[in-house]
Symmetry: C2
Subunit: 371 residues, 2 copies
């Protein structure tokens, strides 16, 4: 049974003070259904991705919140797995389609993070880690530990981290929905404020509001819509201190293996990937764990221009989390929606999306192909 991506929507990402969480969900949902050239009543079920609305604004029961905007109130549920909520909702949606119970489903993710102070948002996000074992840790500090270990093991340099940020900010200029349309120089990244050594402000993805949605169907798509041909779901311990390694994310390796096997593809086949660069070090880890580069080689390859147009693989054409923004529940869905659009536009034939929860306890990989 083939699953096609027949509709996509991505709202503007950024500090969207005039839009509520519900506005964002509604906008992305309706746009995605419209882009699929369907009526709202054609949606058999809805899968909603969100991490923190319960903590940010006290709103839960988000499946019902979104279904309320559909005249027939289709079955809906919310999926959460921290920053991998979007990827996980896509998995649950595909499961539902593959049972044959539903033929067309909406997957929509949104997060509204800028209505609270940065300190408060940082605390909410810390709920993606183990709140007792990692008490008081912020996400920059957890990823700083991973960066430090990577530096010690592989000699990863400041420049290798900075080029990731520079490249993703440059890519974001092509993405009309990106939070930032601003280029930075290596020097500017190098000298940006230290957040958690070695990570600096311009190593970190921002706090963002935004939503993204896709409409998936098992019906005949007329041979035009991109297909979801592989998917993988890998896990690791929630607590960083319990991991086997701090220089790679086992969850990514497991998810990638499963997705590639599903799609009967090699990682070398992919001309383009969206990876979960919540911090610059996370992009290097992703590229190594996906097998695109050998351990310790993603940094040098990035400096060498191998992760942008004209190189080995275009990494984060949307600008990634770093420059496109990271409204948590939307991110995993936005990656797939953005890649599906690039394929629809004929720019690529094959793409991979990589979405991570927390410091790597959850990873989801999807493969998208032209039909």
């Amino acid at each position: 049974m083939k699953i096609s991506i027949i509709g996509t929507a991505i709202t503007k990402f950024g500090e969207l003070w005039s839009l509520s969480l519900e506005d964002l969900f509604k906008q992305a949902s309706l746009e995605a259904v419209e882009s699929a050239e369907l009526d709202l009543a054609d949606v058999d079920a809805i899968f909603v991705a969100n991490m923190g609305a319960g903590a940010f604004e006290g709103q839960m029961h988000l499946g019902a919140l979104v279904a309320s905007h559909f005249p027939h109130h289709p079955p809906a549920m919310r999926i959460e797995g921290a920053c991998a909520s979007g990827g996980l909702a896509l998995l649950a949606a595909q499961d539902a389609l593959l049972t044959g119970r539903y033929q067309t489903v909406l997957v929509v993710g949104a997060e509204k993070m800028t209505d609270v102070s940065s300190a408060e948002a940082t605390k909410v996000l810390a709920g993606a880690a183990h709140i007792n074992n990692e008490y008081g840790s912020t996400f920059p500090s957890l990823y700083a530990l991973l960066a430090r270990q990577h530096q010690q093991t592989y000699g990863t340099t400041r420049k290798q981290l900075s080029v990731v940020s520079v490249k993703n900010h440059r890519h974001a200029l092509d993405n009309p929905y990106a939070q930032f349309h601003k280029e930075f120089t290596l020097e500017q990244v190098n000298q940006s404020q230290l957040v958690a050594d070695p990570l600096r402000l311009l190593d970190c993805s921002p706090l963002s509001d935004g939503a993204a949605a896709v409409v998936l169907t098992t019906k005949n798509n007329g041979g035009r819509a991109p297909l979801l041909t592989g998917r993988g779901h890998g896990m690791d311990t929630l607590t960083l201190a319990d991991r086997d390694s701090l220089t790679s994310l086992t969850a990514t390796k497991r998810a990638a293996k499963q997705a590639l096997s599903d799609a009967n593809r090699q990682i070398t086949d992919f001309p383009v990937v969206e990876v979960h660069d919540c911090f610059t070090i996370a992009e290097l880890l992703a590229l190594e764990d996906l097998g695109i580069f050998d351990p310790g080689e993603a940094g040098p390859a990035s400096v060498d221009g191998q992760t942008t147009y004209g190189g080995k693989v275009v990494v984060n054409p949307s600008g990634g989390l770093k420059a496109s923004g990271h409204p948590v529940g939307a991110t995993g869905i936005k990656q797939v929606a953005y890649l599906a659009r690039l394929i629809m536009e004929g720019k690529f034939e094959l793409a991979l999306a990589h979405n991570v929860g927390g410091s790597g306890a959850t990873a989801v990989v999807h493969i998208i192909e032209a039909s």
Copy 2:
């Protein structure tokens, strides 16, 4: 493809101050796997149900939290739909099984509600309603509106509400995991403190800590384990004021119709049901919306003894949410686990579980049969 319930676990429900949310999840998970006579490594995936941990204690990413207690860290995700989170997690788990990707999955729900003040817990629970459209409403007040309308339309009496509470407290004496092992008289319910007119303290389910789990498999179960033969998922508007009716829950009707059709059963076939009696009025609504009694007839039938042993159908043999307790994320799973045990013990051959989210925006119905 048949789905069997090969393992069950229900922790003690109550004010469990010595146990954390993680303790509750771990205890139920390990007990369920042990009761299935499996090793932890036999669990292919985990579906976690919880409503409020993000707001109660700041812990999200609960799939990873639970998977961390399994040596092989199986794929895991959290499902949320307010008080229907448990029922929804069961649905997602069955979808995953029906794709053939997994053969044995754990579904575990837990909630830890008594570490905060009742006022704070009431506010968290209000996140199951529409926080803007129903700003400041507590759940007792929303169900009081439903009760008032039912009284006006059908002449539902104080006594008809009270007998639900008396009966469920009596049933709970049979349930070793129940939060309350205490009988009440009609007079005591009638005179308990007014919470939201006409609902009194003894009309309301309590704040509870607790967990429940089931292990589901598509493998041959040896002909002993009960089967999940029907499931339904119905929705309605999140906002009560937008509903077509305030004397019945459309979501329950839709979910019941689908589940009965799946299982090829009539509602009159069922000798026992667990229904979502978050308030006494909710049990009457459930019995009418499931079609067990005509509209307005559930109250008189309850007074007439038709909802307990020796009557038409045994309703809430566990004591229901009212007396067994209502740790939100656990409830929908506990209903199925409890009924599966009654079937395993040979007390019944066929049972129905009915789980509701919020004031009825989500409803999930499951049918369980002896194999």
